[in-house]
């Protein structure tokens, strides 16, 4: 292994942690279940972002739109009496895929900054539009009746995260994954070599959506309440990106590692410094970007050459 999959030991560690996470509901502690479900949720979202941003190199600043669409799929179903998360999840994936294909055609022609802003615009516009659709609760939001067996939502989220990890791993070992990386490194050259960049990009964006959307669908039920600011929140948009960067973009395990570490940091900050946790979080982001621009998983390369090598790596992007 290796290649574009990233570090094997990290992947094994992640799989082990995932296995352990499966046991959390047995602890019968609502707080921990909530916390770990959050890790799984962000893990899935980060893996989704990683697919389009990390592997394909198209930095999306609006992937939260898929999460929101997934959450609202659950909400729409609930409004029509179908309060079943297992129905909502696949439906959410379909919605995401359709959305990605329809919007991907015009939007994925943009590169770099422009693609980023366009995705941000899409996310904001979708949020606004949904806030004006009364059938979806409009600005007031929708409550979803939660099932008696509450832990099913935990298992559902686990499934989404594990499946996303599996798909990423499979893609990284396949021609598909290499094609995405080729597009990331030099799209024009890739096209010359016969890779249908448009098709691959749209597929990648669709897959990234199909990871985030079911996470949103489960979240809607687990939270019991969905409204536009909750579903399309800035946190849900930015955290997956920071997590992926922290863990290592363009690797298989990186996003999940980032999700675990960042959730731990965030939770600790939140518990001990409720007043200024966001302040610290901003500092964390700044520090991560300055000192770990290629993530924890690439730390090895920076560490080569000792302290001087590390400091030197900091100034690589200077003028």
């Amino acid at each position: 292994m290796g290649g574009i999959s990233g570090s094997r030991p990290a992947l094994l560690a992640v799989v082990a942690v995932l296995g352990a996470l499966l046991l959390v509901p047995a602890l019968h502690n609502g707080y921990y279940e909530n916390l770990c479900r959050g890790i799984l949720m962000f893990g899935a979202m980060a893996l989704g972002w990683n697919f389009i941003g990390g592997y394909t190199g198209y930095v999306s600043f609006g992937n939260v739109v898929y999460f929101g669409l997934g959450a609202y799929t659950s909400a729409a179903l609930a409004e029509h009496g179908v309060e079943n998360v297992w129905v909502a999840m696949p439906l959410a994936m379909v919605v995401a895929a359709v959305f990605a294909v329809v919007l991907g055609l015009p939007i994925l022609r943009l590169r770099g900054h422009y693609f980023g802003i366009a995705t941000l615009g899409i996310a904001l516009a979708t949020q606004e539009i949904i806030a004006n659709v009364d059938a979806l609760g409009g600005g007031t939001g929708v409550t979803l009746r939660q099932a008696e067996w509450f832990s099913q939502y935990y298992y559902a989220m686990w499934l989404v995260c594990a499946a996303s990890l599996l798909v990423t791993w499979l893609a990284a070992r396949s021609k598909f994954g290499y094609a995405l990386v080729a597009i990331r490194e030099n799209e024009d050259a890739a096209a010359v070599l016969g890779i249908n960049a448009t098709a691959y990009k749209i597929a990648a964006w669709a897959i990234s959506g199909m990871m985030a959307a079911p996470a949103g669908a489960v979240f809607a039920f687990a939270n019991g309440f969905v409204d536009p600011p909750t579903a399309f929140s800035v946190d849900n948009n930015v955290f997956p990106i920071v997590m992926t960067i922290l863990g290592g973009a363009g690797t298989v395990a990186g996003p999940v590692v980032g999700a675990i570490v960042l959730t731990a940091i965030n939770e600790t900050l939140w518990s001990h410094f409720p007043q200024i946790h966001t302040l610290f979080f901003g500092a964390v982001i700044v520090l991560v970007v300055l000192f770990l621009p290629r993530g924890l998983l690439y730390l090895r390369r920076g560490a080569r050459g000792g302290w001087r090598g590390f400091l030197g790596s900091l100034t690589v992007y200077r003028v």
Binding site: G116, G282, V289
Partner: protein
């Protein structure tokens, strides 16, 4: 018809502020290729500066405009030298995240100092207006537009006439050639970023006159700055002005005739259409 005229006037007045907000953003993006997500925080800091001056010394907010410019210029210079400089040539994601983190830091610092409840800058002449036929124009909004135009004009003049201004334009066209001609690029970058921050601060004062202040007030302006830059074209002063006014009018028209609940969505749809149809905007250079 009267309503249409009033709406157009509303839009132009609002657009003036947007032009100044977007100008700094556009310069930093166009010349340094950095999208500064902390720009909204800079705007907010300018507004709070005018609030402090108003509340403590009764200083008229319009008089705070140059003060905010100078203070934020200095602040921006420091931020660039000691933070942004490390990622000037990094991939976009790095700068996105860094400036986002910076924004979080700044917003929360202000939150800590001033608390979350909203403040207001309330000079006595607030709300006074005059009628131009069927249209009512608020004095503060008109003065805001005038100041905005003045600032835009001054920057345009400075960029085309002064030595530093020409160095800046040279750097944005071709870094290598500029360096060979003796331009100290690191210094230029610091000046540009500082300029962007200074303009944001000045714009913040203008914004603060027309709405209430709270630590998150700057956030919506980032996406608006994006739209203006895309509409008017990157890196050009005229583009920011035209884009800003156009955006203001579009938003006013959209919210009036499509739906007030959708006013932000309208602007975003316009953004997407422009991005897809003509990414370089009305007055920008062609995108590579």
């Amino acid at each position: 018809m009267n309503l249409l005229l009033q709406v157009l006037v509303n839009g132009l007045l609002a657009g003036g502020i947007l032009a100044v907000v977007a100008l700094g953003f556009s310069l930093v993006w166009g010349i340094m290729n950095i999208i500064n997500l902390a720009h909204g925080a800079f705007v907010m800091m300018g507004a709070y500066l005018s609030y402090v001056l108003f509340a403590s010394f009764g200083l008229d907010p319009f008089a705070s405009v140059p003060i905010a410019f100078v203070v934020m210029f200095g602040f921006g210079y420091l931020v660039q030298r000691f933070v942004i400089n490390f990622v000037v040539r990094a991939p976009i994601l790095t700068t996105f995240l860094l400036t986002f983190g910076l924004s979080l830091l700044l917003v929360n610092l202000v939150l800590l100092i001033f608390h979350g409840d909203s403040k207001a800058v309330t000079p006595a002449y607030l709300g006074s207006n005059f009628s131009l036929g069927p249209v009512t124009v608020a004095w503060t909004k008109l003065w805001t537009l005038v100041v905005a135009l003045a600032i835009t004009g001054a920057i345009a003049l400075w960029l085309s006439r002064s030595k530093t201004g020409r160095a800046i334009r040279a750097t944005s066209m071709d870094i290598g050639a500029a360096q060979l001609s003796g331009v100290r690029v690191a210094h230029i970058y610091a000046i540009v970023f500082a300029l962007g921050a200074g303009l944001a601060g000045a714009a913040g004062v203008l914004v603060g006159i027309n709405q209430t202040l709270n630590p998150s007030m700057g956030d919506p302006y980032i996406i608006k700055a994006f739209v203006v830059c895309v509409l008017g074209g990157l890196g050009s002063v005229e583009g920011a002005l035209v884009g800003g006014l156009l955006y203001g009018v579009l938003e006013a028209l959209g919210s009036q005739f499509i739906g007030t609940g959708l006013q932000d969505a309208v602007a975003l749809v316009v953004l997407l259409l422009v991005l897809v149809v003509r990414p370089r905007g009305l007055l920008g250079r062609a995108v590579a």
